[in-house]
């Protein structure tokens, strides 16, 4: 009985969201509003249990690491963001967290630039590796906007566009398959778990 009610609730909300395919309607708006509220409400106890308790409460009250009171007070300054007179104090926890960008400079140069360049500079031993090299270089040239894309240079960057279109097509295909897989999951739920039409 309890499972039937649970399935009915899930089916009602699933159909409410699918009803948007017809047009925007009160059922969809209700489900959308509920999803926002429940998603946020779901995060609160999780953050409390997994972040607040181990990194704020336990160090201060159980381990007596009173120095953690300072970041806790610093964090509480976030709440002054909406104050007209004291809003500027919320900049302190923001800049404290933002300073980690200093670490992202060497990290991004290493992982996104140097490692990729090293992989692109392997000896060309076949048609595929030649195509990968040509594709990488022509796409990079396409994103160099200091020179007008005209003449031979324009033709070269045009090759980059074709490589990008194939890459976007592959990503598009993957995304469609992932979404269709979710759609199959929902239809299986409606026809199987809820209505019992398929086993």
């Amino acid at each position: 009985m309890f499972e039937t009610i649970s399935n009915f609730v899930a089916a009602f909300l699933t159909l409410s969201i699918f009803s948007f395919l017809y047009k925007d309607n009160p059922f969809y708006k209700f489900a959308e509003a509920l999803l926002v509220g429940i998603s946020m409400g779901y995060a609160i106890p999780l953050v409390y249990e997994n972040v607040f308790m181990p990194y704020v409460y336990t160090p201060i009250f159980l381990n007596h690491k009173f120095i953690i009171i300072i970041p806790a007070l610093l964090g509480s300054l976030y709440m002054l963001r909406f104050s007209k007179n004291l809003g500027w104090l919320s900049r302190y926890p923001i800049v404290f967290g933002m300073s980690i960008v200093g670490m992202s400079i060497p990290l991004s140069i290493h992982s996104s630039v140097l490692v990729q360049m090293r992989s692109a500079m392997l000896p060309i031993d076949g048609i595929n590796s030649a195509l990968i090299f040509i594709g990488t270089v022509t796409i990079l040239l396409y994103f160099f906007f200091s020179k007008a894309h005209k003449g031979i240079y324009g033709k070269v960057t045009n090759v980059g566009i074709w490589f990008m279109m194939i890459g976007f097509g592959a990503s598009f295909g993957y995304t469609v398959m992932a979404r269709v897989s979710l759609l199959i999951g929902r239809i299986q739920f409606l026809l199987g778990d809820w209505l019992g039409l398929i086993k």
């Binding site: 409400g41 779901y42 900049r91 960008v101």
Partner: protein, 207 residues
């Protein structure tokens, strides 16, 4: 000074982190451990900012009785009830909190993403109608990759899964690699702009 001191903090700490990446000395490691402890202690309070923002936006809608204000009541009731269920009955399996997750949150978010299947199909149709050579290449690559993932592709022709693998391993790899290099350079440039105090939008408006 309300803007200058935060800027001095981010520039000082930021460059210390740049140095930390190149100097794995004990002092540097201790400094990073200290930062991590403090950052973790600060982070849960950022959630409170999100909750406050949501309450302010929807509270204002309810107070002013704007059109469709009733849905704001649903949002806030959903938030309060789910959080209440988590705090009172716990977050373990079998609790009302997990029931809400399994029968309300998860089906709805999965359906939201499933809904995109229809809109992606509609976008593909519009792209095909554009009849440009580039759009056709994109769609042909997408169709081959899609068919290559399912048994139907192999049933049509053994070349489809092979071509799909080739597309993913050759032209797609070249595109992803070039984009990755661009993204890396973009991250580096943006990070430098923040560290040098050129990019300041994160400080917000006011004095």
């Amino acid at each position: 000074m309300k803007r200058q001191i935060p800027l001095i903090i981010i520039i000082t700490l930021g460059f210390m982190f740049v140095a930390h990446s190149f100097i794995p000395h004990k002092i540097s490691v201790d400094f990073f451990d200290w930062f991590q402890d403090w950052a973790k202690a600060i982070s849960p309070f950022a959630v409170s900012l999100g909750i406050m923002s949501l309450f302010m936006v929807h509270g204002t809608k309810i107070k002013r009785k704007v059109p469709n204000w009733q849905y704001s009541v649903v949002t806030l009731a959903g938030l309060v009830f789910t959080a209440f269920a988590g705090f009172v009955w716990g977050t373990q399996s079998g609790t009302p909190y997990m029931w809400l997750f399994e029968n309300v949150q998860m089906p709805m978010s999965a359906t939201m993403f499933a809904l995109l299947a229809f809109y992606i199909a509609s976008a593909a149709y519009k792209a095909f109608r554009a009849r440009s050579a580039e759009a056709t290449v994109l769609l042909v690559a997408a169709i081959i990759v899609m068919l290559g993932q399912v048994p139907l592709g192999a049933m049509i022709s053994k070349w489809i899964p092979e071509t799909s693998t080739w597309i993913l391993n050759v032209p797609n790899l070249a595109a992803k690699r070039a984009i990755m290099i661009g993204v890396g350079l973009g991250i580096t440039a943006t990070s430098l702009k923040i560290l040098l105090g050129i990019e300041r939008t994160y400080l917000g408006g006011g004095d």
